[in-house]
């Protein structure tokens, strides 16, 4: 309804400007590598990168499998971590004593650099999906937990007072006022959690895994296939972008009142 704070529409002129800029950048990159202004071992070559992507996605199709593993791991850790976090948040708010008891332990756990847990998770869950999901969960859980608790706390005391004066029961106030008030905060937590899940999964794959983009990346890097590494980084950036945009779209449509 109110669209006045949106960015101006992308006109043809802007699109052309961006395309020219990107083309110039790629041309500069290709030239620097070919003429050895910079060692191609450091920056790779765009033409090789395109060749790698063509092979991986079209002729040999091996990249699809990697992407599949990484995305599945990401969504599994996102769903698992968020669900656990929202349930924990509800528990904390319903029984405040549980929060007081658990907070020091959670703070301590949250202080561990999560990627440092990866070797332990590999030991426990093996090289398959289990270990990367565990790392993903260990990141997304805390993000969503903090957002859930903050969201539930953010409910306006005045609205609760009004509802009480209207004779609304405590349980109904929680379901019809407190929870909906928490939704925007939970949503921004979820958006972050999705990115963090992917971060955790790829991090775990980089250390060791059977399949996944992170694992392939680590393998290619070890073989100095810099062009392929560059190509995969681009793929990761695009996946990350798509995921974040998808969440924003969902948020806009579900929370039109915001």
């Amino acid at each position: 309804m109110n669209d006045h704070n949106k960015t101006p529409p992308l006109t043809m002129g802007w699109i052309v400007a961006h395309l020219v800029f990107i083309a110039a950048l790629i041309a500069l990159w290709e030239t620097s590598a070919r003429l050895r202004w910079v060692d191609p071992l450091m920056i790779g070559k765009p033409s090789d990168a395109v060749g790698f992507l063509w092979e991986g996605f079209v002729t040999e199709r091996s990249l699809w499998k990697d992407i599949g593993y990484t995305l599945f791991g990401t969504f599994a850790s996102f769903v698992l971590g968020s669900t656990m976090a929202i349930l924990t948040g509800l528990m904390f708010v319903t029984w405040p004593a549980t929060e007081r008891f658990a907070t020091p332990y959670l703070t301590l756990l949250n202080a561990i650099p999560r990627i440092a847990l990866a070797p332990l998770f590999l030991l426990w869950f093996g090289l398959g999906l289990g270990s990367k999901i565990a790392v993903g969960v260990s990141l997304s859980y805390f993000v969503v937990l903090a957002a859930t608790v903050a969201g539930i706390r953010s409910v306006s005391g005045d609205i609760v007072t009004l509802a009480r004066s209207l004779g609304v029961s405590k349980g109904r106030i929680f379901r019809t006022i407190t929870l909906p008030s928490a939704v925007p905060s939970i949503f921004s937590g979820l958006r972050l959690a999705l990115v963090y899940s992917m971060l955790g999964v790829i991090g775990a794959e980089l250390i060791a895994a059977e399949h996944g983009i992170g694992q392939t990346l680590s393998f290619l890097q070890a073989n100095f296939e810099t062009s392929a590494v560059m190509a995969l980084l681009l793929v990761l950036a695009l996946i990350g972008l798509a995921v974040t945009m998808g969440m924003s779209w969902l948020e806009r449509h579900l929370l039109r009142w915001q």
């Binding site: 109110n2 009480r164 004066s165 209207l166 008030s181 039109r256 009142w257």
Partner: protein, 266 residues
């Protein structure tokens, strides 16, 4: 000053809309309200003024039943005050609109919460009141699209939809700019005349209290005591806007102001 408090005007105890006798409230060591006694007649518009923190809101919380009575008697329409009493409609300084509901949805919220009227009639009544408060073109908007004044109009619609005989208002226009405030005060007076409600109106704005009310009760600083109960003999119907230019209004205002000042020193 205590004599003034004892000089309770209005109806006999039996048919009073609101009845307080020797009501005190303590929050730990702090006395929030000290020995308050008064009656308010049905249909009367009474304002309570006093310095901030003197226990005005405490008084309302007792009447809504949100705060349990510690000592003394509090009765609303002859029955002890209790939380969720459908004889009482409460309106706060903040609009308390649910941000995920539209203007219409918010106007209906109180009726829904109390299970008043079947769905169709509920909507009809909400539409009628939205029209009365000047929001008929905004029924489908969310609160974020409304100005402060419009939101408080929405809250007025929600309050009057309840059709409760007693209205408790806690500085409902305190956060508005002067112009909007005058408009809403006149709107409130119109609605009050049409719906014949008993109103307890908390404010720190003495001009507002004098202009709107049949009686102004003045509270002292903590521990909050009612130090004066002054009848306002301005003719009805009134227009708050017109009163701003009235000589009589300013005389009464000065009179009440002196009492308030004396009360703040005591």
């Amino acid at each position: 000053m205590t004599q003034a408090a004892a000089m309770t005007t209005g109806a006999a105890t039996a048919d009073a809309a609101i009845h307080l006798r020797d009501v005190s409230v303590h929050f730990g060591d702090i006395t929030g309200l000290k020995e308050a006694s008064f009656d308010i007649a049905p249909g009367e518009f009474v304002s309570v003024v006093g310095p901030s923190g003197c226990g005005k809101t405490t008084l309302l919380n007792l009447l809504t039943g949100l705060l349990p009575v510690q000592t003394g008697t509090v009765k609303v329409l002859g029955k002890p005050a209790r939380e969720g009493n459908s004889d009482v409609a409460y309106m706060l300084a903040r609009d308390c609109l649910l941000p995920w509901r539209t203007t219409l949805g918010n106007a209906m919220y109180g009726m829904e919460a109390r299970g008043l009227l079947p769905g169709k009639e509920r909507e009809k009544k909400a539409h009628h009141l939205l029209e009365r408060v000047g929001l008929h073109g905004f029924a489908d908007q969310y609160p974020k699209a409304l100005s402060h004044g419009m939101r408080q109009r929405n809250a007025l619609a929600r309050t009057f939809c309840l059709d409760s005989p007693v209205l408790l208002m806690d500085e409902p226009f305190g956060a508005l700019d002067a112009q909007t405030k005058l408009q809403l005060e006149d709107l409130l007076l119109d609605l009050w005349r049409e719906h014949q409600k008993t109103v307890v109106f908390i404010t720190h704005d003495l001009g507002e209290a004098v202009a709107l009310s049949d009686r102004v009760m003045v509270m002292s600083a903590r521990p909050g005591r009612i130090v004066a109960d002054i009848k306002i003999d301005l003719p009805r119907p009134r227009s708050v806007r017109d009163l701003q230019k009235s000589h009589e209004f300013h005389e009464i205002y000065t009179e009440v102001w002196e009492v308030l000042e004396a009360g703040m020193k005591s």
